[in-house]
């Protein structure tokens, strides 16, 4: 395991626990944010290798948080995956068009999650 740092943005406590436990168990380090604002702060501060971004958040939503990350030179190149319960028809296309590097709909298949995270970390110029 490479021990890449992954920022998990999730306002639901149980889901946060699930993603954190799975990622840590799989060998990643995790940063946790329950709001969009906090996510931008942490990303700027720590420069994680990947961000798993929930979209529906208490303050600014995931799309706006993505916009702020992209706007900041320090965080602009960090890959961000949308992990959202917004899974209606056309949502995938909508998020990818908005600039997310990937899209996982809830309920997430653990196998899919692990494979996708692995894929993005591996693809990060190593």
């Amino acid at each position: 395991m490479a021990g890449e740092q992954i920022l998990v943005v999730e306002d639901n406590e149980k889901n946060m626990k699930l993603f954190r436990d799975v990622l840590q168990a799989t060998g990643y380090r995790t940063l946790e944010a329950t709001t969009g604002g906090r996510a931008v702060e942490l990303a700027t501060e720590h420069g994680p290798d990947l961000v798993l971004m929930d979209v529906q958040l208490p303050d600014i939503n995931g799309l706006e948080a993505l916009g702020r990350l992209r706007a900041d030179e320090r965080t602009a190149s960090i890959p961000v995956l949308a992990v959202t319960a917004q899974a209606m028809q056309g949502d995938r296309e909508r998020f990818l068009a908005a600039g997310f590097d990937g899209y996982l709909s809830k309920p997430v298949s653990i196998a899919d999650l692990v494979a996708t995270v692995q894929h993005h970390c591996d693809g990060r110029g190593r």
Binding site: K14, V22, A87, M88, K106, P107, V108, S109, I110
Partner: protein, 622 residues
Amino acid sequence: MEATARPHRRLIWKYTTVVVALVAAAIVSVGLTELYFSYQDSKRALTRVERDKAYSAAASIEQQMQDVVRELEAAAQPTAETGMAGLAERNQEFRSVFGREKLVSQLSYLDAAGEERVRASPLEIDRIDSGIDFSRSAKFIRARTEQRYFGRVYFQHGSQPHITVAVAEPGAGGGVVVAEIDLTFVRQVVDRARIGTAGYGYAVDSRGELITHPNINLVLRHTNFASLPQVRAALRAPAQDPAEAATIGRDQDGTKVLSAFQTIESLGWHVFVEEPLSEAFAPLEAAIWRTALLLVAFLVLAIATSVLLARRLVRPIESIQTAAAKIGSGALNQRIEIASHDELGALAEEFNRMAARLQESYASLEQKVEERTRELATALGELDKKGRELEAASLHKSEFLANMSHELRTPLNAILGFSQVLRERLFGELNEKQESYVDDILSSGNHLLSLINDVLDLSKVEAGEVELEVAPFSLRESLERGVVMVRERALKDGVQVALAAAPDVDIVTGDERRIRQVIFNLLSNAVKFTPAGGVVDVRATQVDGEVRVSVADTGPGIAPEDHERIFEEFQQTDAGVAHGEGTGLGLALSKRLVQLHGGRIWFDSELGKGSTFVFTLPARPA
């Protein structure tokens, strides 16, 4: 404008013509009657005057002539002496006659042999015993036979009319006394009988020859008037009643004259008094002129009156007509102003009432139209509002569905995630019981997820929000994928799945994801209901321009009572319910998706032998 003026003129002329004709007829008939009677009266009066004059002239002449004849009879008595003494006595007697009677211009005595014995005249020397023989002369012979003789009128000294009268001496062998009578008095008498300025009198003898006439030349030429109608009539009927002796005749020049005559019986003469009609009826002519003038005056008056009357009569009609035309052209507030209380007034009143009714009904019509328009606008507004509300409701529904989906997926993520973590033994081993529980949690969670997905799909289809992403795709590949997807389950259940696609079945046009959804639904149903050892047979063929996909199983089949409701939402067969899986939405969704593609879906089933579900898609060559 011309159209309205024409009937007006016609009416006026009609009235005028009628009135003028009536007036003219009345005046003319009255005038003619009056003229006729005044003509008759004038004629009668004039005739009486003429006749009276003729009568008095004739009487005067006869009287004088009788006086003369009496003198002659007295002179014709035999003398007391005979011989020369007798002749002298007779001569003496003749001289005394001249003294008494101025009309006698000459007297002579013829003896019984017709020889002249005495001749005396006031202006000449008496001749005694001249012996001139007159025995063959008419005066001698006719006096001897008829006692009296009147000769023809003749003229002495050119123009003095005279007549020879002879009287016989009484007793046989007597002589005859012959007298020449100056008739100048006749002319005077007859001239006095003239009437008016152009009137004149004349006398003719028994043969019609003129005795006297104002035109002396006619008399001198011995003109005979017997050819004139009135003279001829007088000569033919000398005994005619004098009252009818008046007639219209002609003078010698042919001019019409009113003529009356009187006969002098003793002489056989006729005295005529005449007047040209032009003068006789001059007063009548004046009357004619007066009547004509009156006629013209009354005609003018009648025309003026009738025009006025007609105008007065026509004007109200005209104003009614004008108003009617205005009302006819839409001016419903138009009213006719007529003050008269006759039938025209009543007509105008009725007309006004009609116009008022028309206006009223028109106004109420407009009001009704306005009302209805307002109602319609309101209804449209409401409809619009409802439409907006519906739109909002639809939007709300979509939002609600999205929210619900989101809110269900969030806990499901934890449920399924943790179950998978446990199942993958990420944090340690599970005992058999625990593993089976985790499996149950997983399958229940997945069931819940598919339920959510189906409900969302169906409600989108129902709302018409599903937009097919139409593109050519390989149906063969979709079928193969579907088979792969159910194969694991089929193997586990001991069911064999076979796919047989005809060579000409491959590319079709449609929404690949939706068609796959349908295929997977039918396949998973078939596998689910087919008992171990059974077969699911998938076939694809092209028939009559459409692609037909059939999925046949060897399951329990569908009871006839379930055939009706098998494609309805939340309807499951008892077998399906017993399986404890499936949402009851799969077939309903499949049916709608196939229909959206323009295809059909149906099934054949027999209890205990299995079911065959078939759907079609229009074949569109790639």
